[in-house]
């Protein structure tokens, strides 16, 4: 049994790595067609890797809630927002335009995760007994309450017990400097002051291959995030295979039975809400933290749907599938259309896109597809979401188990259904 599990893990690792390599290769080709230089190519792949890692993290956290315990939480964006904003308020400059508490970054991150976790716990209590669709509506409503609150002018600045702080309302809030910069520069807030010894060395090396220092810094951050994805995977894998995780799967399969067997399912669901939402908050912090600024518009409900689409593509219930779904969604479905537009625009030189769809459709009657393609490319951001919706409908109708969903984590500790096959194999091996 142990042997099999190791094989299983190794195999999964191979699938994820080959997906990463394959997608990188694809984007290298795209960059070559676009005629980007080496720096541009490296930067493009960094962007894809970064976004893939972010989605993989959130999807893993969601998988713990939906894939393991069957909790249909569609307030993901709200929990991410609360993590990011709490971190921003804790670390903000007390004398800034939007005052904060001025505490160090690690405290901010811990505070953000705890706040997201606490809010998750809070919303779980009234929703424990609700049916899935009610739960969906309440969680999305709760996420909207959080977003409207962050957007409200009332809380632009406020004070608790005489300490001034604020959310910055619709204009957003500044986030602390990315600590990765400290690795390369002596003063992260003023790059002109010089580099550290490590920075001199690494930048010097990459200058030879003409990669800019800013790209090196973002690459470092992307690599850190990929490591964090590994940590997320490990944590959720361990949770899933613990006795705690087995109860979660039992709840997913049949909550009444789990209850009848003496498990207090309410406590388990509350814990899963707290852990999952905390991880979502952390993922939000690591995502927005690299931009140095965030605003409530980033956390609209559609963000939650993106994460759900990624999980459904990968296959809800499978951790490796979650990572795969995150990678495939972020690179091919989310960033992909933009690159398709750029490639087509680059290869075929279109005239200016028509102003309206009717002007774009009329030439089709004379077999001139050009204006329609140009119009579609100009409005690719709308068309992309239409495509996402259709993909979602297609998957749910034809392959609801997702890419790797056939490997759904088993509810029992031993795979009873496949046992005879394994035994004969082992006998052969012996």
């Amino acid at each position: 049994m142990k042997f099999n599990r190791e094989m299983f893990l190794k195999n999964d690792f191979r699938i994820v790595v080959s997906t990463f390599v394959g997608i990188s290769f694809l984007f290298i080709i795209v960059a070559m067609i676009l005629g980007l230089d080496f720096n541009g190519t490296v930067n493009t792949i960094q962007r894809i890797m970064f976004l893939s890692a972010v989605y993989a993290m959130v999807v893993l956290a969601l998988n713990l809630q939906w894939g393991y315990a069957g909790i249909f939480n569609i307030g993901v964006a709200g929990f991410m927002l609360s993590g990011v904003y709490t971190m921003a308020i804790i670390t903000g400059d007390p004398n800034g335009l939007i005052p904060g508490l001025g505490l160090p970054l690690p405290i901010g991150i811990i505070g953000g995760v705890l706040m997201a976790s606490l809010l998750g716990l809070l919303i779980s209590i009234p929703t424990l007994k609700l049916k899935a669709d009610y739960l969906a509506i309440v969680t999305i409503g709760f996420a909207e309450i959080i977003r409207y609150t962050a957007n409200a002018l009332t809380f632009k600045t406020f004070s608790i017990a005489g300490v001034e702080m604020g959310t910055g309302a619709g204009r957003g809030i500044h986030l602390p400097m990315n600590p990765i910069r400290g690795l390369y520069y002596t003063d992260p807030s003023n790059l002109g002051l010089g580099k550290t010894v490590f920075g001199e060395y690494v930048f010097g090396f990459f200058e030879i291959v003409q990669v800019q220092s800013s790209v090196v810094v973002s690459w470092t951050y992307a690599i850190v995030l990929i490591f964090v994805v590994g940590l997320f995977y490990l944590v959720i894998y361990r949770i899933g295979n613990s006795p705690f995780g087995r109860v979660l799967k039992a709840i997913r399969e049949d909550e009444v039975v789990a209850n009848a067997l003496g498990k207090n399912t309410d406590i388990y669901k509350m814990k899963v809400f707290a852990i999952g939402c905390g991880l979502m908050g952390l993922a939000g912090i690591l995502w927005q933290g690299s931009y140095g600024y965030t605003n409530p518009t980033t956390f609209q409900p559609i963000l939650t749907f993106y994460i759900f689409i990624a999980l459904i593509i990968g296959g809800s219930g499978s951790n490796t599938g979650s990572i795969m779904g995150g990678v495939v969604f972020a690179s091919l479905l989310f960033e992909g259309p933009n690159f398709v537009r750029r490639v087509i625009m680059h290869v075929f030189k279109f005239d200016k896109a028509p102003n309206s769809i009717i002007e774009a459709v009329i030439p089709i009657s004379s077999l001139d597809l050009g204006p329609f393609v140009a119009y579609s490319l100009a409005n690719i951001s709308s068309l992309r979401v239409v495509f996402l919706g259709l993909v979602l409908i297609y998957i749910i109708q034809n392959r609801p188990e997702g890419l790797l969903g056939d490997r759904k984590e088993l509810a029992a500790s031993i795979d009873i259904s496949r046992r005879p096959v394994i035994e004969t194999k082992e006998r052969k091996d012996a």
Binding site: L153, S356, I358, S382, G389, I396
Partner: protein
């Protein structure tokens, strides 16, 4: 004397039992009573003027009936098809757009570029004052738009049911249906954005719409004909739905199916036909709601239905999901909450108040306020 006091004790006991059995409701009633007392007190001491309260009440009623009307369609499909339709908000938007395409084409023919009229001014903005649409001056065109909106939405609903939901009818997995609906919602909303572009645009000539001022206290309340139309048509449609569900054979079949699908099937009710009828009626109400709401507001954008959707869900949940009258009552509760709450809290937190009311209702009365009177 003695008999009297026994009677008192009896009443007291009944009251006490009721309070203990239904503590949640009691708390809610208590909370609302305190707020109402404070409101009356504020008006008496002159902190809040009575005309402001009257304006809030009228606006709340208009918003509430709009949400209620939109909610009836949602509630109807929910009770028969047993799952929350996340694409409902975008159906409302689609209804609004289809109606306005017709009104723009009829009103602007010959004077404006037809291609642009058919896209409600997506190509280049249309001067709506010059176009001159309003309930007061061009009621026939507006009525035509309402009819087109209803027909357009019904056709769209049937098409979506045919291609998305019918292949999934055998699925008993509610979550799969919910996800499919989210997919429909995304595709529909951004499909509309692809065709009609993303900008918010004006529809009616505000200066032409008749407006009446009703004196209240020291000031007055402004009521315009768009709002009156919405209120009257909403009430008429709701009464229509009530009569239909209570007295027609199809309505009875729908109620039977909502009650117990299997029983309805073995009694000989053609369930697939009833499902289609439900979509038609639900779609018609949705289209009408989309057109009337945009008529009252005078503007439209590709997201307006989606933004309304959560409020509609809140209304339907507060009223008791699946109940048609609950949807209306819930809508009115939402409408009043979103306006009257402004007496105590700033305007940008009105939605927070509304969603909080929804969470509170779920906390204390998850079956909704009007569970006892469900007929659909």
């Amino acid at each position: 004397m003695c008999v009297h006091s026994i009677g008192m004790i009896k009443y007291y006991n009944i009251l006490r039992d009721k309070v203990q059995k239904d503590r949640g409701t009691t708390l809610v009633v208590l909370g609302i009573s305190i707020l109402l007392l404070d409101l009356v007190f504020q008006v008496i001491i002159g902190k809040t003027e009575s005309q402001i309260v009257a304006t809030y009440l009228w606006d709340g009623l208009v918003i509430g009936l709009a949400i209620g009307l939109a909610g009836v369609g949602l509630s109807l499909t929910y009770s028969i098809l047993k799952f929350a339709n996340f694409a409902h908000g975008d159906m409302i938007t689609a209804g609004g757009f289809s109606g306005w395409v017709a009104v723009f084409a009829v009103m602007g023919v010959g004077r404006f570029d037809m291609k642009n009229l058919l896209l409600v001014g997506a190509g280049k903005p249309i001067n709506v004052t010059e176009l001159g649409i309003s309930v007061s001056t061009t009621p026939v065109a507006v009525l035509f738009g309402l009819i087109v909106a209803i027909i357009g939405t019904v056709l769209l609903t049937l098409a979506i049911d045919r291609f998305v939901f019918r292949p999934m009818r055998h699925h008993n997995d509610g979550i799969a249906l919910l996800i499919a609906r989210i997919g429909v919602s995304l595709a529909l909303r951004y499909g509309l954005a692809f065709v009609f572009k993303t900008q918010n645009r004006g529809l009616t000539a505000a200066s032409l719409t008749a407006s009446y001022s009703v004196p209240v206290g020291t000031g007055s309340v402004q009521i315009d004909l768009g709002e009156i139309t919405l209120v009257l048509v909403a009430i008429a449609l709701m009464v229509g739905v009530h009569v239909f569900l209570q007295y027609s054979t199809l309505g009875k079949a729908m109620r039977a199916m909502a009650d117990n699908r299997d029983l309805a099937l073995i009694t000989g009710i053609p369930t697939e036909k009833v499902v289609r009828a439900t979509w038609i009626i639900g779609g018609a109400l949705t289209g009408a709601a989309g057109f009337l709401i945009t008529l009252e507001r005078g503007t439209i954008s590709f997201q307006f239905g989606w933004i309304l959707l959560l409020l509609i869900f809140a209304a339907v949940i507060i009223g008791g999901i699946g109940s048609v009258y609950g949807a209306i009552a819930g809508g009115v509760v939402i409408g009043f909450t979103s306006t009257i709450s402004l007496i105590w809290i700033p305007a940008d937190l009105a939605n927070v108040a509304v969603f909080s009311v929804m969470v509170l209702v779920l906390l204390y009365k998850p079956e909704g306020l009007f569970k006892g009177v469900t007929t659909a």
